[in-house]
Assembly symmetry: C2
Homo-oligomer: 165 residues x 2
């Protein structure tokens, strides 16, 4: 079975599930890691804007933030300019946790590429990036790991509209 789609799908599932396991010892799920990482580079943002950035529904953010707040990783503070919204902030432990999460990701990448020659690694990355770009793949939708955000938006097939079809 040398079908690239097969390979990509199977590898993607493996990688996602593997990442989940690697994060588990830290009491962190991928989506929560993504949330914290986003927050770290954009503190004070609202639940809504974070939800948009992560591709999850506003309603789902409530439970997510509830749990992270209970773990003392984020704080809900009143938003300075909008009394409807909550401004989210990381605690100090959360900052460290995000760093560790990135290190986990680094390790996974290293393990993944360990079978390849040094020169092949950037090749693979480049090929993947080009395919992902061409297909309009959302670069962070993978952390949701749950449902997919609806049907795949079809990029115009790239080849000048295909022969017969």
């Amino acid at each position: 079975m040398d079908r690239p789609a097969f390979l990509l799908s199977a590898l993607g599932l493996h990688v996602a599930s593997d990442f989940t396991e690697r994060l588990r010892p830290f009491g962190l799920e991928p989506i929560k890691f993504a949330l914290l990482a986003h927050l770290k580079s954009d503190e004070g943002s609202t639940q809504q804007s974070l939800a948009d950035a992560l591709g999850v529904h506003r309603n789902a953010m409530v439970g997510l933030v509830d749990e992270l707040e209970e773990q003392e990783l984020v704080q809900r503070r009143p938003h300075p300019s909008d009394r409807r919204a909550k401004a989210l902030y990381l605690t100090e432990p959360a900052h460290e946790l995000v760093e560790r999460g990135y290190r986990v990701a680094d390790e996974q990448d290293a393990d993944l590429l360990s079978v390849l020659e040094e020169s092949e690694r950037p090749q693979l990355i480049s090929l993947l990036r080009r395919v992902a770009e061409a297909r309009g793949v959302n670069p962070q939708a993978h952390l949701c790991m749950t449902q997919n955000s609806g049907p795949v938006k079809q990029p115009p097939t790239n080849r000048a509209d295909e022969d017969s079809k």
Copy 2:
């Protein structure tokens, strides 16, 4: 974000979801396509052996076969040598449907690789295959698309047990 794990996960999700959509017009879900395809190359097998091959639970096969039987794509016949088991067979329409499913997969592969130069396509496939092989990725677990079959079994990291860790 040039992390290969990120890219693979995101691309895998895209590809899986895309395949689901491409199959939808035929009234077929990926897991059912996999089931029919397996059956085509191994007619008369039991639900149990098919379940093992596809990585789904025996209980789940019941509903799957129920629906496929209702669509007149498979038949349950008494197993010749084991009166507990059912032997599964494809109907004629199902044979054609599997062919069409393979053609859909071919089209998806072509679309996926269409951004790459001719010479790069086998490169990507080869790199993916090697990584998948090294990580012990089950070549067809991707069609389940639902949950993952538990924690990823860790291949021995490939590099002579890593420095410090």
